[in-house]
Symmetry: C2
Subunit: 99 residues, 2 copies
Amino acid sequence: MAERLTAEARKQALGAVPGWTEVQGRDAIGKTFVFKDFNEAFGFMTRAALVAEKMDHHPEWRNVYKTVEVVLSTHDAGGVTALDIEFAKAMNAIARLTA
Amino acid sequence: MAERLTAEARKQALGAVPGWTEVQGRDAIGKTFVFKDFNEAFGFMTRAALVAEKMDHHPEWRNVYKTVEVVLSTHDAGGVTALDIEFAKAMNAIARLTA
């Protein structure tokens, strides 16, 4: 099972995933993605959903039209793990291809 | 353009869409759908997204694993319109087919 990253390891890992920051008051990371329209936003979500299902690691996310707010945390580990960083990287890559 | 429903019309319309209620502090309606797993939840969202795009009327929604919290309101009209009721009905129908 993925282990919870130490504060230092998390900080260092976040340096490799542009736009992701620590979520205030929670052991989680988050990013708000803004696309051109709903088609792009939901296209991004669909591709990310397939990755999530394959990784068996799922996001908390909120979508309003062209905006997708994502929060990642590893429930079983009670905080941010390498799985979250990996998923954050995958989402950034999908967003680059989507825009 | 769809016109904002009166409080009475909204109340009556909600009677036809089981599970939908008024959102506290906003002129909006909401429902929380709970599915078996992420696959079902995102399947529901995907079908609803296609309807949304066709109606050109989009939800605010939040997904955490098997749960989808939806809020509907018509931005242009500043509140709940017949469009929201129509979309709520469509979502209920999709959820019935998904489960």
